[in-house]
C-alpha cells in the first residue's frame, strides 16, 4: 500500500516546480496574510481565555497551512462544515473577527445568541454550517447537502473538516458510505494532527493511512503534507474540481500536528513529551511558506512587518469592539427552540422573568 505524501514546498523552502500550483503573487500574499492572521488570533484568544475574558478556546496552532490552504481551494458558494478547531476556515471565508469574538464571548451580538459554547460556530451568510461537539456527526450531513445540491443540479461542492479521531466514528463510516453510493460532490478533509485529545493516531486505527480508508468506500484518498500550504491547496483544489465535474467524493488526509493542547481544558504534558512537540515546531507551516515566498522574491522584511502589524490591528480592534457588547437578554435563551415559542417555553420564560433575579453575574 502506498504511503506517499504530496509535498510542494520542502522543509528548507525549496519547491517542486512540476507540482507548484499556478497561483498569482496576490493569492500567495493572501494565503500568507491569512495564516499570520490565524496565528495571531489563536495566540490572542488563548491569552484572553487565560485572563478569564473568554470562557473556553480551542487552539489550532500548527495547522494553519491545512486550514487556510484547504479553505482557499473552495468557491464561496461551496458549503463548508468546519470542526471546532477550524477558525482558519472562517478567516478564509472573510468572517469579521469582531463577529467571531462576539461568539467567543457569547454576547448579544453573537450570531448564535449565546446558545453554543466557544468555537461552536456557524455562519450561514458565508456558507459555514453550524457545528456540534460530538465527533463525526456533521459528516453525513455534509453528504446530504451535497446530495441535495446534486439533485437540484447546482454545481456546488461540500467540504467537511474533521480530525484523525473522527475516522473511528460511526458517522465517518455512514457518511463515507453514503457519499460513495450516491457519488456526491463531497470533500472529506481530515487533518491528521496526530492526537485525538490524548490518543495517538497509532492507537486510533490499524490502517496504515487514514486516506486509505477511502478505497473501501469506492473512491480516492490522497495524503498531503498538512504543513505545506501549497500542497494542501493543490490536493483540495484538484478534488474540488473533480467533484464539481461529477467525479464524486475524495478523502484528503493532511498530515500535521496539534502544537497546542486539545482545548483550554486539556494538559498535553500528561500524554506526550515536549521533545516531540519541539520536532514539529521546527516544521512550522508559516516558516515554511515564508521561506518559499522568500525564494520567489515575494517576501521582504517590510512585508512581514506590514502583515503582522495588520493582523495585530485586526485582532485587537475586534477584541476591543466585542468586549463593549453587553450579554444577550434572558429571553434569547428561549428563542429558536422551535419556529414559534411553544406554550411551555412561554410559561418557563414568564416564570423566570418574574423571579427578578440579579443577572449581572453569569
Amino acid at each position: 500500500m502506498s504511503v506517499e505524501m504530496l509535498q510542494v514546498i520542502r522543509a528548507e523552502g525549496t519547491y517542486d516546480t512540476t507540482l507548484e500550483p499556478s497561483l498569482p503573487e496576490s493569492d500567495l500574499k493572501k494565503l500568507y496574510e491569512a495564516m499570520i492572521l490565524l496565528r495571531t488570533l489563536d495566540v490572542r484568544a488563548l491569552s484572553l481565555q487565560r485572563q478569564g475574558r473568554i470562557g473556553f478556546y480551542i487552539q489550532c496552532i500548527g495547522q494553519e497551512a491545512s486550514q487556510i490552504g484547504s479553505a482557499y481551494a473552495f468557491e464561496p458558494n461551496d458549503w463548508l462544515f468546519p470542526s471546532y478547531r477550524d477558525a482558519g476556515v472562517a478567516i478564509v471565508r472573510g468572517l469579521a473577527l469582531k463577529t467571531l469574538f462576539c461568539h467567543l464571548m457569547g454576547n448579544s451580538q453573537d450570531v448564535m445568541k449565546g446558545h453554543q459554547m466557544p468555537n461552536h460556530w456557524g455562519y450561514r451568510s458565508i456558507n459555514l454550517v453550524s457545528l456540534a461537539a460530538p465527533i463525526g456527526v456533521h459528516i453525513p450531513v455534509a453528504v446530504g447537502v451535497a446530495l441535495a445540491a446534486k439533485m437540484r443540479g447546482d454545481r456546488i461542492v461540500t467540504g467537511v473538516y474533521f480530525g484523525d479521531g473522527a475516522t473511528s466514528s460511526n458517522d465517518f463510516h455512514a457518511g463515507m458510505n453514503f457519499a460513495g453510493v450516491f457519488h456526491t460532490p463531497t470533500i472529506f478533509f481530515c487533518q491528521n494532527n496526530q492526537y485525538a485529545i490524548s490518543l495517538p493516531v497509532s492507537k486510533q486505527t490499524k490502517a496504515q493511512t487514514l486516506a486509505s480508508k477511502a478505497r473501501a468506500y469506492g473512491f480516492e484518498g490522497v495524503r498531503v503534507d498538512g504543513n505545506d500550504v501549497l500542497a494542501v491547496y493543490k490536493a483540495v483544489k484538484e478534488a474540488v474540481v473533480k467533484a464539481r465535474n461529477g467525479g464524486g467524493p475524495t478523502v484528503i488526509e493532511a498530515i500535521t500536528y496539534r502544537i497546542g493542547a486539545h482545548s483550554t481544558a486539556d494538559d498535553p504534558k500528561r500524554y506526550r513529551v515536549e521533545r516531540e512537540v519541539e520536532e514539529w515546531r521546527k516544521r512550522d507551516p508559516i516558516d515554511r511558506f515564508r521561506l518559499y515566498l522568500q525564494r520567489k522574491g515575494i517576501w521582504s522584511e517590510d512585508l512581514e512587518a506590514k502583515v503582522r502589524q495588520q493582523a495585530d490591528g485586526i485582532v485587537s480592534d475586534a477584541i476591543r469592539e466585542a468586549e463593549k457588547i453587553p450579554p444577550p437578554t434572558l429571553e434569547t435563551m428561549f428563542e429558536d427552540v422551535y419556529s414559534e415559542m411553544s406554550w411551555n417555553l412561554k410559561e418557563q420564560l414568564k416564570e423566570l422573568l418574574s423571579e427578578q433575579r440579579d443577572v449581572t453575574k453569569r
Binding site: 456527526v137 446530504g144 439533485m151
Partner: protein
C-alpha cells in the same frame, strides 16, 4: 370519501404531498422497489422516480444525517426508519443535530425533516419490533412528536408534519396499520399539530391515550358505559407540543384521570401528563391519577398480549378510580 387503512393513509398523504411540493423526498431502507416492509411507500418509486424515493444503505445514522443535510439545502426529506426499534444508530443524529440546528445556530439554520417510524407492539415481534420509546423524543427540546390513531388523522397529521417548519418524529402504530380502517377524504386537508381530540365525551373519568391504545381506551369506555360509568376519551395525538388546555379542561370537568400508554410506566410520557395535571389542576382531582402502561420490563415475546394494556386492565383501573 374512501375507506382506507392507516398504512394506506400514510401512502396517500406521502403521494399527495410529493405531488404538491417537489421538495418532498423519501429515503430509507427497502422503501423503493419493495415499497417498504409495511408497504407504506408502495407505488411511489414508479410515480416519482428514484431521485425522490431513494433506497439507502442500511445505516440509520446515514439516513437521518443525510436527510438533515438535504433539509439544510432546502428539501423536505421524509425518511422512513423501518422499525422505531432500529432508530438508535440514528439517535445521535436526532438528538445532536436534528433537534438543535435551529437553536445552536441562533435561528440561521433549521432542519425540517419528518422521520416516520412504525412503533409499538401487537405483531409478535419481540423486543426489537415492538417498543414504544416516544418519551426519549419528547424529552429532547426542538423535536415535535406526533402519533396518530386513525386513518383520517394519519393522513391529516402527516401532511401537517410535512408542512411544519420544525423537525417532527411521526410514529405510526403498527398494530393498527391494517386493523383499523376509516373514512378518509380524497381531497387535501390537514389535522393541526398540537391539538388533541375528544373522541368520546364523558363526565366521570378522563382517559388520555394515543396510538393503538386509543382503541383500547374506546373499548374500555364502552365496557364502562354498561356499568353506568361515563368515560371521556381523549386522543392526545401530539405529545410535543402537548395540547395542555384540552387536558386541563377535561380534568376540570371529570376530576378523575387515567393515562394509558403501552410504553413502560417509569419515565413514560404519562408521567409528564400526570405531573402537569398535578401542577395545574390538583384542586379538581377527586382521586389519585392512575397510569395504565406497559410493565417496566423489556418488551416480552410470549406474554405480549398480557404486557400490552387491554380493555380488561383499563376497566380494572376505571373501577379503582371510581371506588376511591
Amino acid at each position: 370519501m374512501t375507506t382506507l387503512t392507516v398504512v394506506q393513509a400514510v401512502n396517500q398523504a406521502l403521494r399527495e404531498e410529493m405531488k404538491r411540493d417537489d421538495r418532498v423526498v423519501l429515503l430509507g431502507e427497502d422503501i423503493g422497489r419493495n415499497g417498504g416492509v409495511f408497504r407504506a411507500t408502495e407505488g411511489l418509486l414508479d410515480e416519482f422516480g428514484p431521485s425522490r424515493v431513494m433506497d439507502t444503505p442500511l445505516a440509520e445514522s446515514g439516513i437521518i444525517g443525510t436527510a438533515i443535510g438535504m433539509a439544510l439545502y432546502g428539501l423536505v426529506p421524509v425518511p422512513e426508519i423501518q422499525f422505531l426499534d432500529f432508530i438508535y444508530p440514528g439517535f445521535d443524529q436526532i438528538v445532536t443535530n436534528l433537534s438543535k440546528f435551529r437553536y445552536r445556530s441562533g435561528g440561521q439554520y433549521s432542519a425540517h425533516v419528518v422521520i416516520r417510524a412504525p412503533y409499538g407492539g401487537g405483531i409478535k415481534g419481540g423486543h426489537y419490533h415492538s417498543q414504544s420509546t416516544e418519551a426519549y423524543f419528547a424529552h429532547t427540546a426542538g423535536l415535535k412528536v406526533v402519533i396518530p390513531s386513525t386513518p383520517y388523522d394519519t393522513k391529516g397529521l402527516l401532511k401537517a408534519a410535512i408542512r411544519d417548519p420544525d423537525p417532527v418524529i411521526f410514529l405510526e402504530p403498527k398494530k393498527i396499520y391494517r386493523a383499523v380502517k376509516g373514512e378518509v377524504p380524497e381531497d387535501d386537508y390537514v389535522v393541526p399539530i398540537g391539538k388533541s381530540k375528544i373522541v368520546k365525551e364523558g363526565s366521570d373519568v378522563s382517559l388520555f391515550a394515543y396510538g393503538t391504545m386509543l382503541h383500547v381506551a374506546l373499548e374500555a369506555a364502552e365496557e364502562a358505559a354498561k356499568r353506568d360509568i361515563d368515560v371521556e376519551v381523549i386522543d392526545i395525538r401530539t405529545l410535543v407540543p402537548l395540547d395542555i388546555d384540552s387536558v386541563i379542561s377535561s380534568v376540570q370537568k371529570t376530576g378523575r384521570v387515567l393515562i394509558l400508554h403501552e410504553a413502560p410506566k417509569t419515565g413514560g410520557f404519562g408521567a409528564e401528563i400526570s405531573a402537569l395535571i398535578s401542577e395545574k389542576a390538583l384542586e379538581y382531582l377527586k382521586a389519585p391519577i392512575i397510569r395504565v402502561a406497559g410493565f417496566d420490563t423489556p418488551f416480552p415475546y410470549t406474554w405480549e398480549s398480557i404486557y400490552l394494556p387491554d380493555a380488561f386492565r383499563v376497566m380494572k383501573a376505571i373501577e379503582k378510580i371510581m371506588q376511591y
